[in-house]
C-alpha cells in the first residue's frame, strides 16, 4: 500500500482504485484475457453479424440443400437449404441470451440463499432443507410439469417465442441454483468465524454491511466459477429441452438444436455438427477462462503476486 501511495504522490497520478488493481491483476492472466477477447468476439458476431450477413436463417431454399461451403453460403446449407451461417448467428443469440440470463438468475438465487443460510443461523436449517428438497427433485419430470402448466398462459401473454424464453430462463434458473447455494454457504460459514469479521462486528458493523463489504467479496471466487459453469449448463439444458420438444419451436434455431438436428448427418456432413459443437465448446471454454482470471483477480490474497 505504501508503494502505491508513494507512486501516486511522485507522479501526481490520480489515486488507484480497487477496480484498477483488479484489472492490473486480470491482465496478467493470459488465458483470461484471451478468453474474454474471444467471448466478446462471439458476442459481436452473434449480435452484430446478422446486420451484415442478412440471409434469413429460417428461409428454406430447397434447391440449395446439403451444399458445402461456397461464397453464397460460407458454412454451407442444411438438409432443407437453410444457410448455416445465419442459423449459427441466430442460434447463438438465443443460446447466449438463455445461457447468460438463466445463469444470472440461478446465481442470484444461489448466492442469496447460500449467504442467508451461512450467515443467519436461524435460517440455515430451513434454507438448506429447501436446497436438499430441490436437489432431490427429479429434474426432468419437474420441468415437464412446469412447462405443461404454464406454457399456454405464457404463450398467450407474450407470444410463442418470448413466452418460451421467459419460461426457459425461469425453469433453468430455478433448477440450477442449489450447487451454488451449498458452496457459498460453506464458504460463508468458514469466513464468518475469521478474525476480521469478528473485528468488524466488534466495532458495530450491521449485518447488511458485513455481508456486502466483508463476506461477499471473499466468496466471489466460488461464485464466479459456478457462474461460468452455469452458462455452459444452461446452454446444454436448453438443448436437451429443445430435443424433447419442450423448448423453442423446432424451426427456431439454437445451438443445441442445430447440434441435435445435425447428428443424423454425422457421417455424410460432419461439418454440420462441427460448427455448432465448436461454437458451444469454445464459448464455454472462453467463459471458463474468464472465470478463472476473475477469481484470481478478485482474490486479494493472490493479487499482486
Amino acid at each position: 500500500m505504501t508503494d502505491i501511495a508513494v507512486n501516486s504522490l511522485a507522479n501526481a497520478r490520480p489515486p488507484r482504485s480497487q477496480w484498477l488493481d483488479f484489472w492490473e491483476q486480470f491482465r496478467t492472466h493470459r488465458g483470461a484475457l484471451f478468453g474474454m477477447t474471444f467471448f466478446l468476439f462471439v458476442l459481436l458476431i452473434v449480435f452484430v453479424g446478422p446486420y451484415l450477413w442478412t440471409l434469413d436463417g429460417q428461409y428454406i431454399d430447397i434447391r440449395a440443400r446439403n451444399q458445402g461451403p461456397s461464397l453464397a453460403h460460407p458454412f454451407g446449407t442444411d438438409q432443407l437449404g437453410r444457410d448455416t451461417l445465419s442459423r449459427l448467428m441466430a442460434g447463438g443469440q438465443v443460446s447466449l441470451a438463455v445461457g447468460i440470463t438463466a445463469m444470472a438468475l440461478s446465481l442470484l438465487l444461489g448466492t442469496l440463499i447460500g449467504v442467508m443460510a451461512g450467515y443467519f443461523k436461524r435460517l440455515d436449517g430451513l434454507l438448506m432443507r429447501l436446497t436438499d428438497l430441490f436437489l432431490a427433485l427429479p429434474l426432468l419430470p419437474l420441468l415437464l410439469v412446469i412447462i405443461m402448466l404454464f406454457r399456454d398462459t405464457l404463450r398467450t401473454a407474450f407470444g410463442p417465442e418470448t413466452g418460451i424464453f421467459i419460461l426457459m430462463v425461469f425453469v433453468i434458473g430455478i433448477t440450477s441454483w442449489m450447487q451454488t447455494a451449498r458452496i457459498v454457504r460453506g464458504d460463508v460459514l468458514a469466513i464468518k468465524e475469521r478474525e476480521f469479521v469478528l473485528a468488524s462486528r466488534s466495532i458495530g458493523t450491521p449485518s447488511r454491511r458485513m455481508i456486502t463489504r466483508h463476506i461477499l467479496p471473499n466468496v466471489l471466487s466460488p461464485i464466479m466459477v459456478s457462474a461460468t459453469l452455469g452458462i455452459a449448463n444452461a446452454i446444454i439444458t436448453e438443448s436437451a429441452l429443445s430435443f424433447l420438444g419442450l423448448g423453442f419451436p423446432s424451426d427456431f434455431p439454437t445451438w443445441g438444436r442445430l447440434l441435435f438436428d445435425s447428428t443424423d448427418y454425422l457421417q455424410q456432413y460432419p461439418e454440420r455438427v462441427l460448427w455448432p459443437g465448436l461454437a458451444i465448446s469454445l464459448t464455454v471454454l472462453s467463459v471458463n477462462y474468464v472465470g478463472d482470471g476473475l477469481r484470481d483477480a478478485l482474490d486479494p490474497r493472490i493479487r499482486g503476486r
Binding site: Y59, L80, L244, P249, Q267
Partner: protein, 567 residues
Amino acid sequence: MRLTKILLGAVAAMAMSSAAQAERGADGQVNIIYWQAPSTMNPYLSGGTKELEAASLVLEPLARYDQDGNMVPFLAEDVPTVANGGVSADLTTITWKLKEGLKWADGSAVTAADAVFTWKYCSHPEGGCAQSEKYNDVTGVEAVDDRTIKVTFGVSKPFPYGPFVGAQAPLIQAAQFANCLGAKAPECTDANFGPIGTGPFAVTDFRPNDVISLEANSNYRDPAKPAFAKVTFKGGGDAAAAGRSVLETGEFDYAWNLQLAPDVLANMQAAGKGTVVSSFGTLVERIMINMTNPDPALGDERATAKHAHPFLSDMAVRKALSMAVDRKLLVEIGYGDAGRPTCNVLPAPEIYKSSANDACLVQDIESAKKLLDDAGWVAGGDGVRAKDGKRLSILFQSSTNAVRQDFQALIKQWWSDIGVETELRNIDASVFFGGDPASPDTFQKFFADVEMYANNFDGTDPESYMANWECKQAPRPETQWQGNNMPRYCNADYDALVAEMAKTGDLNERARLAKAMNDKLMQEYIILPLVDRGRVSAHSNTLGGVVLNTWDSELWNAADWHRVKSQ
C-alpha cells in the same frame, strides 16, 4: 466370329436347360438377416413380426395375401366366396377345401382335422394365443371330410377371411402339438422351436434370439422347389448393420425392414452388391385438421364439438392449405424410395384406392391464394390473412422426429407463402401417442389447429379403419379423450356409409363404399394425406424371385427364391 456365336449359343442353351430342369436344393444356401431376432417359431405364441416372418418359412395358412393384397390359395384349392358357394348367403359359414396329397414335412398327410386342432389350440381358454382375434366370433370348426374344413361364425361376417388366412394364422400339426393345449403351450419347447410344417423349409436347429438353420422340406408339394437346400436365418443387430451386410459387404442375401434415411441407403446401394426394394401398404403420413376450437380460454369445452373452429371450419381455408403443399418434394426429402405422394387416406389395397383426388399431387400456390382472396381472407400489414378479426394463425403439432420436423418447417414456409402464419410444436412421441387423458399434449386431445402423424390398419379390410371418422369416435371428455376421430368430423352421410359397409358382404360393393368414404374425407379436406410410406428391404443382386409383400410375411414366396447365375 462363328466361334463366339457357337459359344454364346452354348451358354444360352445351358442357361435355358438350367431353368427348365430346376430342381430342389440346386442353388445351395441362402442367408437372411433380420435385425430383430426371433425368439420362437410358433406364431401363435408371439405377436412380433419377426417371429411371424421366420415361422412363415415353415408354416403355411390356407391362403395368403399377395403383394397387391389379393388372396391367393396356398394349402386350399381356391378362395371361397359367396359367388362360388364357399361362403353361405347369410355370411355365417365359410368352407375351405385342401389341395390333394398335401404332406407335412415328416411325411404324414395334412387333413381337415389339423385345421380343427389349430382352432382349438388358439381358442383354448387357458392359453394366451397371440392371434386369437383372427378367430374372433368363430363358434365351430368342423372337418366335413378329410379335405373339407367348415368354419361357422356366431354372427354374420362380411369379411370371413380371418381364420387360417395370412401369416398370423397358419395350420399347425395336430400330432405334434396334441399335448400342448392351453397353459401347456409355452412348455412344448421342441414343438415351438421346430414346428413341423408344410412350407418350403424345415427347421434343423433353432437358437432363440440368434440363428435359425433350415433345410429344404423334402415333402414340399412342388417337387422342383425350393431352389435352396439350406437357409441361415440370422437375427439381431441394427438396421444400418443389416443394410450394410447385404448392400456393401454381400455377406447376406436378404435384409428386412431397413428404416434408414434415403441418402444413407443410397450410399450403401452405391457399393453395387445389392438392391433396395420397397413395397407399399396402408401407412399414410397425414395432417389432421381440427374442426373444433382448441382455444385454452374455453376451459373444459376446449377442442370439443361445442365450439367450431374459428377459421378451419371454412372449407376454402382447408383446401388452400392442402393446395399449398408440395407432396412430391416431401417424399424426396423424407423418404426417398420408401415413400410416394398420395391424395388418399386409404391408399391400398388396389381395389379400395380412389383416383378421384389426384389433383392434390400438384402444388398450386397461386390458386390457393386466389381461393383465399375469393373467400374474403385478405392479407394484413404483416402478410397474414384475416377476416372479421380472425387471423389465419395456426399451431401445428407433431411428434419429435427429424423427418417430421423437416416436414413441419417446409410446410410452414409454403403456408406463409399463401398468407397463413404457422407456429410449430413438437412433442415427445411417447407423450404424443401415449393417450394419457391427464396430458394436454396427446394426439387425441389435439389442443392445436393441425397435427401430423402416420397411421395404418391391420390386414386388408378397411371397414374398421374407415369407421374411425364416425361422429361418435371423436375424442371428448365423456370418452376420457379416447377415440380415433381426431378431426372431430361429424357428418350424418358419412355415418350412414359406415353403417352400410358393416352389413355388406360383396367385395366390390364394399370397395365402392370405402372409396366413397375416402373421397368424402378428401374432398372436404378434413384430412390432408401427404406420403404413402412403404416398407423397405434389401436383397443381394444374386438373389432372384424376391417379391416384397406388406400384406403378409415378406418371406411369403421363399419357395420361389433362387440364385441368379452371374454372366
